[in-house]
């Protein structure tokens, strides 16, 4: 199996002399093709920083990151932009939809930017519309739809380019439990049926229980890791909660 992400002893230090804060303190991790990986940890542990450096939005202070075998630290601004466009898909807590575009336009935006021809573009929207159940709202505008619909729109946009890696930052954070479950089911289906590689940061144990593997971060270091294997989701959920209680200082959302 191919390695999609390879993070090698990455450090990220904020602030200048005298007032230094270490967000990431020598993180090593690798993500294989077709994995659904979750990152958990208390607030301030460095989850989002890790996601941002992998997403090429932020640069690490030291260490190296390879995505698909290419180091992303040697790329310039324009190369990074193209890289993000071609290889990565993003899903954020606050959806990040453009309110000037309709749902459909939001979804095809990455394809339009990559200058994919109109026919292919329509075909892919058609293909994805049912996976996320957004066909009835394609012509609506973001301010006309609910939070769950917005997040499903965002998810459609994230995967329409068939990215090598789907990065999700607290995707269920702003959703009610029904919408959250719908979204997680969709992500799971994507992962299982389309072999999409998903990298999700969450503080919600319920969301984490959909992952195949969950990493726990504390104070910028990897604390531990648990693998779902063949155990049912309910059981995995309890395991996650156990680790969280050991980890302390953090979230204890219950289902």
């Amino acid at each position: 199996m191919k390695m999609v992400v390879d993070v090698k002893s990455v450090k990220k230090v904020y602030g200048a002399k005298g007032n230094v804060f270490t967000a990431l303190d020598g993180i090593d991790l690798s993500v294989m093709e077709g994995e659904f990986i979750g990152i958990m940890g208390p607030s301030g542990a460095g989850k989002s920083t890790l996601l941002n450096v992998i997403a090429t939005i932020d640069q690490p202070t030291s260490g190296d990151i390879f995505i698909d075998g290419t180091s992303i630290l040697t790329m310039n601004e324009d190369q990074l932009a193209s890289f993000r466009r071609d290889k990565l898909g993003f899903l954020f807590q606050d959806y990040n939809l453009l309110d000037t575009l309709s749902v459909k336009e939001n979804i095809v935006l990455p394809l339009a930017l990559a200058k994919v021809n109109v026919k292919e573009l329509e075909r892919r929207v058609d293909d994805i519309a049912d996976t996320f159940g957004i066909r009835p709202i394609l012509e609506k505008y973001p301010y006309q739809i609910s939070g769950g619909q917005k997040q499903r729109t965002a998810a459609s946009r994230a995967i329409i380019t068939n990215p090598r890696l789907l990065l999700a930052d607290e995707p269920t954070g702003a959703l009610d439990s029904k919408s959250a479950t719908d979204l997680l089911e969709s992500l799971k289906e994507l992962n299982e049926h389309r072999q999409a590689t998903v990298f999700m940061v969450t503080h919600d144990a319920f969301a984490a229980s959909y992952c195949k593997r969950v990493l726990f971060i504390k104070d910028g270091k990897i604390f531990t890791e648990i693998v779902k294997g063949t155990s049912p989701r309910k059981e995995f959920f309890n395991k996650v909660l156990d680790v969280l209680s050991v980890l302390g200082g953090g979230t204890s959302d219950t289902v």
Binding site: A81, S82, R85, N96, T100, L101, A112, L113
Partner: protein
Amino acid sequence: MTLFSLAKRNIIGNFKNYLLYFLSMIFSVVIYHTFVSLRYSSEIEKNIESFQSMRSVFLQASIILIAFVAVFIWYSNAFFTKKRKKEVGMYSLLGLRKKTIGKMMFYENLLMGAGAVIAGVLLSTLLSKMFTMLLLRLLGTDVDVGFTLSLEAFGNTIFVFTCIILITSIQGYRLIYNFNLIELFQADKEGEPLPEVSMIGVIIGTILLVFGYWIAFQPVDSNGQILRNLLLIMGSIVTGTYLLFRTAIVYLLKKAKEHKSSYYNGINIIGTSHLLYRIKGNARMLTMIALLSALTLSAITIGTSQYYNFTTHAKQLEPFSYTYISKGDIEEEKIKEIIYEDKNHPVQAELTVPLLKVHTDPSDTDLPEYLEQLMAEFPEEDFINLISAKTFNQVSAALDRNEKVTLSGNEAAMIKPRYTHDSFSDYEGRTITLKLPEEEKQVRFTHLLEGRVLSWRYPDAYIVLSDELYSEMEKQIQPVAYKTYQVKDQKNTELTSNQLHQLGFDDLKLSTFYKVYKRGLESAGQDIFTLGFLGLVFLAATGCMIYFKQLTEAHSDKGRYEILRKIGVRKKEVLTTISKQSLFIFLLPLIVGISHNLMIVKVLLGINLIGGDISIPILTSIGFYIAIYLGYYILTVNTYYKIVNL
């Protein structure tokens, strides 16, 4: 900490946010104070002959400026407070009383206003020397100007701006009372529905514009028609322009959206949808700016056309350097002496122009329209001036003109009256019956001549007759002999001209080219300065309004561009889409403004408000307009890009 010091801290801490507002206030103060200083300038008073009339023009102009400056400051204040709504909401949420917040906003605005007035007055004092010199140069006087401080001007500026700033400060005070907390917090995220296109609007708008332009190209005959046409043009153009921006542009953008292969091609999708999203809020501003620029451009064109053409006008009004009625007495000798004594301006031609003053027969029905009107106006006077073809040709030669006329028998040539658009067809084949003491003589018009012979006076009717007819008439009436001189470099004959006028020989009807020229120069210089000054200020301010509006949009677009960068839009592409969108917003009023301006100029030409060669004035004013907008465009794109890329 007192409220006052909190306000002071706010200003210092947020200086970057305040800077734009502060600068636009300084700009207004500089403009206004400079103008007022000129009004009270003693330097100008000393050097200008028609200072009183100029003062009244400046007074009117400064009233326009007050109105304008007030609107401009009010607009930038609105832009500025919009950015601060959230902050004000936050204070309120923290439990500060409305009254306290209001007072704080009031103090802030007051402090900034005071700062701007001080800075502006200092700056404009430095600039006023430059402007005074510019004005005096335009008026044809070169003097060295020192720095002057006029207390009157200072008082005037302070008074005007205290009023304006007090009003905006009260506006700031009211801010917290005018909105609910929730509105203050949501100032940035208004979800505007997409504008609907009504085809009726597009059609009506187009029809109105076409109609307005069509009327502008219709010939007008009477004053009533002129007034009616102006009203029709104004109404249809104003409404048409608004509908154009409100519906037609939306329609075009929607069409662009439907054209999928280009819409879904790269960054176009962003640019088009952004423009469409904003067009509703922009329509009114763009309409106002397009119309205002059209008017301003026309005003500048009028001003510059007068400046470019006043020498030609002066030559038409006063063809010779010196002209008077020759009576062959001592007075005439005196005049001759003065003219010949002026060694710097040697006489190039000296000529006697005899002319006969006669009347026409009231029962004459075949008169050209122009003469008919004069006839009705001067039924008793001998208003028709007759000269011989020989004299006319002599005048032409003396003034280096190429126009020559040969007439025989009862052929006659009309010299084209000034301030008319008469053409030969108005005279061709018409006749006039000239009333002489012993007989009546009918002559037939066969030519229309351009070259003017004597000083312009109303009624302006000169008819050239064949030499034999003229000499026949000369036997019956005593001719009036005008003595004319053409000298070298007549534009600089100030000394001689003044000397001659001081003689006080009123009955000789003495007139000099210099006097007419100088009067024309002063009024044209004054016009070009006032109109040019106001025009540039207006154009600069309209550009500034677009700039402010675009910056407001940049601030609310920040999030959108952040999303775009996250999903992999290159910085270069961001720059491209910003450039394209801004270009659209700047180009629309520019094109519409210029087009309307050309139309207005056409109307003005049609009603003789301006004349002569106006291509240079038009090109100059349009050139300035484009240059100003280009500057703002570059500034806008840069600032916009910086804001969204932070």
